[in-house]
Every structure is written in C-alpha cells, then in structure tokens.
Point group: C2
C-alpha cells in the first residue's frame, strides 16, 4: 500500500509546523506508516487537477490504493481507524476520543481561526486594534473550559488518542499570539504532545521542506 | 436502550431549527431511534452538573447506557456508526462520507459562524457595516467551491449520508442572510434535505419546544 499526501510547496508559516499536513504526518508517524509527499504550489492548488482531489483547493489530501480523501480530521480519523494506535479498542472510550477529535476542530479551532484571520487578513483594517481583543477573549473562554476539563490529566481521556493529536495541533496555532502561555495546564499539555517522537519526526519532515 | 439528549429550554432562534440539537434529532430520526430530551436553561448550561456532560457548556449532549458524548459531529457520527442508515457499507464510500461530515464542520461552517458572530455579537460595533461584506465574501468563496463539486448530483457522494445531513444543517444557518439563495444548486440541495421525512419530524419536535 502506498500512501501519498499533499503539502504546500512553501508553507506560509515558513516551517513552524502549523500547516495542516503536519497533523497528517503526525498521525502517520504514530501509526508507523511510511508515506510519500507531493508538494503543491498555491497556483496548482486552485487548478482542476488538485480540485478533483480537494474541492476547496487546500492541502492536505490523502491517497491510498484508489481512495482519495481530503479534510484533515477525516484523514486523521481514517488513519486511526484503519491502522490502529490512535483510538482505544473499548467502544465507549473510542466514542469519547472521537468526540475530542470533533471538539478540537469544531469548538476549539473556530475562534482560533478567527484570531488568525483577524491578525493576518484584517490586520491592516482600521478596526483591527479594537477588535482583536474581543476575538482573543472568545479564544480565552474556550481555553478556560478546556483547561478546567483537562485538569491534572496527561491527555483528554485516558491514553493519548487522535483527539489529543488534533487538540494539540489546534492549540499550537495559538503559540505565536502568546495566549497559550496564559494557560499553564494547556501549555504543558501541548509540550507533552510535541515531545512525542512521532510528532518530532513529523515536524522535522515538514521543516525539511520549508526551512527558510 | 434509552437515549437522552439535551436541548435549549428556549432556543435563541425561536424554533427555526438552527440550534444544534436539530442535527442530532435528525440523525436519530433517520436511524429510527426514539429519544428523550432534557431541556436546559442558559444558566444551567454553565453549572457543574451540565459541564460534567459538556465541558464547553453547550447543547446538545447525548447519553446512552452510561456513555456520555458531546459535540454534534461526534454524536451524529456515533448514531451513524452504531445504528446504520447514515453511512455506506463500502469502506471507501464510508471514508468519503465521513470526509464530508468533517468538511461541513471544519471547512464550511467556520466562515458561516464568523458571519453569525459578525451580525449578532458585533452588529453594534462601528466596523460592522464595513466588515460584514468581507466575511460574506469568505462564505461565498466556500459556497462556490461546494456548488461546483455538487454539480447536478442529489447528494455529495452517492446516497444521502451523515455528511449530507451535516452539510445541509450547516448551510441552513445561512438562510437568514439571503446568501444561500445566491447559489441555486445549494439552495436546491438544502431543500432536498429539508424534504426528508426524518428532517421534518426533527424540525417539528424542536418547534414544539420553541414555538413563539
């Protein structure tokens, strides 16, 4: 079986590991699966050949024996389901781990994305200075709740799972803002994720493409 | 087996079916599963008893024989996995349906949520009039791509699936803005979803709680 993913030819973050291919690389490394990477330029991402793989013209995509997937959450879930290692065997524990995967993407990431948009795409707008603190407060509201739930546990529900992989990845997007460090429980959680050998291999692999 | 979900005591939308319990009700109706509903006030949602079920203090939650889930995507996925009807049996088709479930929640819904936030929570801000068109353009960018992919198909990938249930639900949030009607392909897609008897039962059930 050959697995091929796509990634940015040049990641906008210059190799900080925040592009979404890092999440897929991490899952593949946790599962111990070798993979090929096809690099795609910004222009090629919007052309028919890539849109046939990814209707929203983004990366990453995932190809395996005639199966084509897009959407990071779905790809990580597919790897976790079909190749073990990232979801518990017990039915209930598995459903809860999947809950955290969705929570990372649909409850925690949206306000973080809003903050990224506010800083990068609206940073030059006249309202930027007054509005960014409002968006930051929405992010903090979520982080307070997440921090309270995590408490002194290592991971969100028992062993490290696909839910943790995604939550750590989502929280990493906050590091440039300094907000993550306001929540020591979450900063330590993210550090535990980054310390995993599989994460380190994934990070190194994307850096090899994107190092300045 | 008794299934219990939570919903708003009074939904902020006054019964338009946009609160997220409607998505779960719809999945349960598609699966032919009876369920109980426990209504929760805004105050109770932030209290410890509810936070134990839902760390982010929201609705819906899902309880079934000792299993507690939150996060609409995870609940719909759980219903689809354990009770049939919403995911194809073929492995590849199933993975693609799950991809659309994630795409609805992590690619299409975030800009729609931003628009809802811009209108409702920032509607009185001095930047509102100038900023809303920018947010609307981000929504339109996604809808153009989604519309191009759907084309003249009835559903996103073969038969109606959990991915369609979620995509239709996400797009419904746009109806008050008028933007959905700019995309006839998507407006017709949403109408097909709404015409399903299971959706109509779900809609009627939430309306019975929330009718003005």
């Amino acid at each position: 079986m050959t697995i091929t993913i796509t990634a940015f030819e040049r990641s906008p973050d210059g190799g900080k590991g925040l592009a979404r291919d890092t999440r897929v690389r991490w899952a593949l490394e946790e599962a111990g699966l070798p993979y090929d990477v096809r690099l795609v330029s910004f222009r090629a991402m919007k052309e028919p050949a890539h849109l046939a793989l990814h209707p929203f013209g983004q990366i990453p995509t995932y190809e395996e024996d005639g199966l084509v997937l897009f959407e990071t959450g779905a790809i990580v879930f597919h790897i976790a389901t079909h190749h073990g290692a990232l979801l518990p065997a017990d039915d209930h524990a598995r459903a809860r781990a999947i809950t955290w995967l969705f929570a990372a993407l649909n409850t925690v990431e949206p306000p973080i994305l809003e903050l990224v948009t506010a800083r990068i795409f609206e940073g030059d707008k006249p309202w930027s200075k007054e509005r960014i603190p409002l968006v930051e407060e929405r992010v903090r509201d979520r982080l307070k709740q997440l921090s309270a739930r995590l408490g002194d546990a290592d991971w969100l529900d028992g062993d490290f799972s696909a839910g943790d992989l995604m939550m750590v990845s989502v929280l990493l997007r906050l590091r440039p803002s300094g907000i993550l460090d306001e929540f020591p429980v979450l900063a330590a959680y993210v550090a535990r994720g980054e310390a995993r050998p599989a994460y380190q291999r994934a990070f190194a692999a994307q850096l090899a493409v994107n190092a300045p």
